[in-house]
């Protein structure tokens, strides 16, 4: 099984007639995802890769019963696209686009919440439930259907971890790249909750990095909820010089300096198995799970 995405998911691709949208739509179809519609305002009536294109998400949903949107729309229009999908009743919006203005996302969040729509991203590789459906830009072939859930703030770093898990003889239930932007949709905790309830997920991996306080919050949640499954963690940026991007006032608001050491300490205090050397991730997960059973 999986969370959020499964073999019955019906994808609409917003921005499907663009270069990126077209390329990745094809990859998703090849992987076996049900891509049922594309949306590009002004291009209705066309068919691309055998998929009908609509002017609006509402028409696409009415005609094809699409229930997941994957957004490749350019940065300055992407927030608008996410709200359009929510208003059309799409319950999961996956925003691949990077460089979306922060103030746009500040407006998107309450709009989506009012429509009870979940968002993954922006600036993320998307979500995949191996063997069932891929809604994103990750290379499908490195994944294998299995019982490890993966939540990550990074793109290629996730691929590295997934690859190691697969090579260590295990597989994944669902892998989600939550995105690296300051304001994102679903956070670590939202997804940890879903994985806790998914009976086919045996363990969860949290792939974090320096900056912000998402990892510390996830660690606190794991402690407070007495999280029922083993959790593995990794933090990138142990040796990075003090962040250039974070204004110090931002760090105060979050109550965290965003340093790798603090994150690792918080995770270990919560009983998370923190892997220190990236090259040994898959092996360490395999050995730990084996010794438990």
């Amino acid at each position: 099984m999986s969370i959020l995405l499964n073999k019955d998911s019906r994808l609409v691709i917003q921005g499907m007639t663009g270069k990126e949208g077209l390329f990745h739509a094809e990859q998703m179809i090849e992987y076996g995802s049900q891509v049922v519609a594309g949306v590009t305002p002004g291009k209705a009536g066309q068919e691309v890769l055998g998929v009908p294109i609509f002017n609006t998400v509402a028409e696409a949903v009415a005609t094809t019963k699409a229930n997941v949107s994957v957004i490749f729309v350019p940065a300055m229009m992407a927030a608008d696209a996410a709200c359009e999908a929510a208003e059309a009743g799409v319950k999961l919006v996956v925003v691949i686009t990077e460089h979306i203005p922060v103030m746009d996302m500040i407006r998107v969040k309450p709009f989506l919440k009012a429509h009870q729509t979940d968002m993954i991203g922006p600036n993320c590789p998307g979500i995949i439930s191996p063997g069932q459906c891929k809604a994103g830009i990750m290379p499908g072939y490195i994944h294998k259907q299995g019982s490890i859930g993966i939540i990550s703030r990074s793109g290629t770093l996730t691929y590295e971890v997934v690859d190691q898990i697969t090579k260590a003889g295990m597989g994944q239930s669902t892998c989600i790249g939550i995105g690296g932007d300051p304001i994102i949709g679903l956070h670590f905790i939202d997804l940890l909750k879903l994985f806790a309830e998914d009976k086919d997920t045996e363990a969860v991996c949290l792939i974090g990095e320096i900056g912000g306080d998402a990892e510390e919050k996830a660690a606190a949640y794991i402690t407070n909820s007495r999280y029922p499954k083993p959790v593995f963690g990794f933090i990138a940026g142990l040796t990075a010089p003090p962040g250039k991007r974070m204004g110090h006032a931002g760090a105060i608001i979050s109550g965290s300096k965003g340093r790798a050491g603090d994150k690792i300490a918080a995770m270990e205090a919560a009983g998370i198995h923190v892997v220190k050397t990236l090259g040994q991730f898959g092996q360490q997960v395999a050995e730990t799970l084996k010794s438990r059973s």
Binding site: P139, T156, Y159, P182, I183, A236
Partner: protein, 389 residues
Amino acid sequence: MNVHEYQAKNLFKEYHIPVPQGGLATTAREARSVADSLTGPVWVVKAQIHAGGRGKGGGVKVVHSAAEAEAAASKILGMILVTPQTGPQGKQVHKVWIEQGTDISRELYLAVVLDRSAGCLAVMASPAGGMDIEEVAVQTPERIFTTHVIPGEPLWPFQARKLLFGCGLDPKQVLSGAALIQNLVRLAWEKEATLVEINPLALTIDGRLLALDGKINFDESALKRHNEIAALEDPSETDLLERQAVDMGLNYIRLSGNVGTMVNGAGLAMATMDVIKQAGAEPANFLDVGGGASEEMVTKGFEVILSDPNVKAILINIFGGILRCDTLASGVVAAAKKVNLKVPLVVRLEGTNVEDGRRILGESGLHFEVAGSLSEAAAKIALVTGGVS
């Protein structure tokens, strides 16, 4: 994107946030005539660089005549100013801002900042102005007052009043201060800034509030719709190599070690730097060529890495996802030949068609070390740079 204090103050003026009268100078003579045009008897000459703590480094001088202003400016202009925020190499000063001195009764702290976890802007105020606010947050967190801005809406006056009463202002000052805070929020929202900070916000002897300093950080993703803000960028503020990298679409940060790195994706790039350090070597840079790394980007990456004379070896770590490893390997070979690579190169490739990729590297006739895993790559790098592995 950061701007200078004088640029922040010009924006404050535009938003009816009071600032001291002042003017910009690039020569000592200009500084004198700016001082002449302002009423005395005290003036402040301030170095304009993108870093805080300028006073501690000798970049801020209080003067008592136009002649003194000229003398102070001639000392400050051209100097390499070292502050706690510039790093030991410091920054050269090209401009000074001369303004009227202010009779200060109290100093407050005020900022509008992006709250990542709440997903909105927040306003912070503190009676402990003029200090390092991080210190205040650690030592006396009860002296920081915070309120959140409803997305897309102006700040309610009561929110601003609450902050100012918290800072201990009297009712008359609170009313004028509330308008100032509302204007600051409007500035942040309209100009799309993720940080607008006034530290200190002075309460003058005669009861006025004045922004004595200004720091603004604009959202780079939004600059396309703010030409007036994009025009404020000062290219001399970025490291030359970093600037070249940005022009080429690369995400590069120069560091002090001797192992150049080239990785696709920021998270993996950071993790690769960690692996290098764990193996006993020091990374010379952070370089993210983007999730999809093309031959062109790899060539550009080589050029940027090699223009740093400290680089003694290079580690390339690419997780070829959608991009196939054979394509990438051909790119690395072509790029290495083009830039006439002389330092040892360790390549770690993973992903689609990795066997073909490794074969292309092996048959290139170039001196590559090919690593099968991340751990192996780090060990090889440590060996060639003489670190312990």
